[in-house]
Symmetry: C2
């Protein structure tokens, strides 16, 4: 399993992902699910991936293959809109799934994969898209400015309580980490290191990057502070009238 | 959908359930998912139900039918152990599902239902059981002293952070309400009123009961206090080193 999240606020975009990959419970790997494609001053594109690891790696390989081919019909550098890129990735993903899906399904497996795409092209608005396994996609809205893929439920309540488009980039990043932490505690198939990328709107520069292990001082202090804060909030809850 | 939870602590048992039932998004009903069977001084049995409403109502009807029949091979009054009751309810549920399941499956529906059973029989330990749609069941453990049915993920992180077997009955009840509140915010198919029953270990008395609507003063103050506490915990999180 996997948990990835992107939050699109007025100030920019936060991307966060865990790094655990598993085929059954007895074959656990650590691998990045965050893929960055940056041409400073022109375009910044970040892709988060969940689902079948072979499918998601094949999609990233196909993106690179097209980038290296000056005659490619379309590639990340030829895109005029971010939603063109969403369309393209949906097509690549579907094609890959159709290639290997039937063989996988025979063994009870699945080639399905989903993606979050985000970033900004020069002269356009920044944005994020969720690309479904079927290849179609949706954008985030100003009312629900985040998108999730993978194990999304455990970490959703805190996002619903805290995040608005007015949230600062730093607060959105902290909230993404808390959301990942809550998910990791409830689901062993989600695990560190947690990768974080923070893109500042209109900068068209490489996002700020952070990789947090369990032992990272910042992650440890965040975990402790959140746990203590929650326990305090719980202790402060109003008593029943019979107490 | 539904969300029900039972927490079994040293001091007793807390049961909590939402009251929303839906067949599709355009047919929403409010109905209790908590069923109490009490013979003070002898036995206290509480049943929480999730899944197909016709199945769960048929199981409760069958329980009553057997109670009214002095010649019944088994009923709640003839049980010697709480796990005998779990066995019995699993059988009733499976029988009902086998009766109506095939017709429902033709229309893409399902007769599946799950239950949480809890309580105490005179001279025995108090306990809780989760009864699966297949009719088999598990008990809670001292390490994970709660069981959930229905939409269980959104409300799980707070339980994992707060609940132990040493938690007081009042704290367990507050935690169950926070867990329901978090679930309701993230899933519209879970809704109030929230029913709460608190059974004091070895009392063999009717559990204390509470039904909380959104407008109930206690629920409103709990919601506000928790929301404020969470926001405070969030505001207090450590800053990144570049801030």
């Amino acid at each position: 399993m996997t948990y990835c999240i992107a939050i699109c606020v007025n100030d920019g975009i936060v991307f966060a992902s865990d790094s655990r990959s598993n085929a059954g419970v007895d074959y656990i790997r650590t691998c990045s699910k965050m893929h960055r494609f940056c041409w400073p001053g022109d375009r910044v594109i970040v892709l988060l991936s969940a689902g079948n690891l072979a499918t998601t790696q094949a999609v990233v390989n196909a993106i690179q293959r097209d980038l290296d081919d000056p005659d490619a019909e379309f590639n990340l550098l030829k895109a005029k809109h971010l939603f063109d890129v969403a369309d393209y990735i949906g097509d690549l993903s579907l094609k890959e799934q159709q290639h290997h899906g039937p063989a996988l399904e025979k063994g009870g497996g699945s080639a399905a994969a989903s993606f979050i795409l985000g970033g900004q092209l020069s002269g356009k608005e920044h944005g994020i898209y969720l690309i479904y396994p079927e290849g179609n996609y949706i954008a985030a809205s100003t009312d629900t400015p985040y998108l999730q893929i993978g194990e999304n439920k455990y970490g959703k309540p805190i996002l619903d309580r805290v995040i608005t488009v007015e949230s600062s980039l730093n607060n959105a990043a902290r909230c993404a980490l808390v959301s990942l932490d809550s998910t990791m505690r409830s689901n062993i198939s989600v695990g560190p290191p947690f990768e974080l990328a923070m893109y500042t709107r209109d900068s068209l520069e490489e996002p700020r990057q952070l990789s947090l292990k369990l032992a990272s001082p910042y992650y440890k202090s965040l975990q402790k502070s959140w746990n203590d804060g929650l326990k305090r909030a719980f202790t402060d809850l109003p008593k029943f009238d019979w107490e």
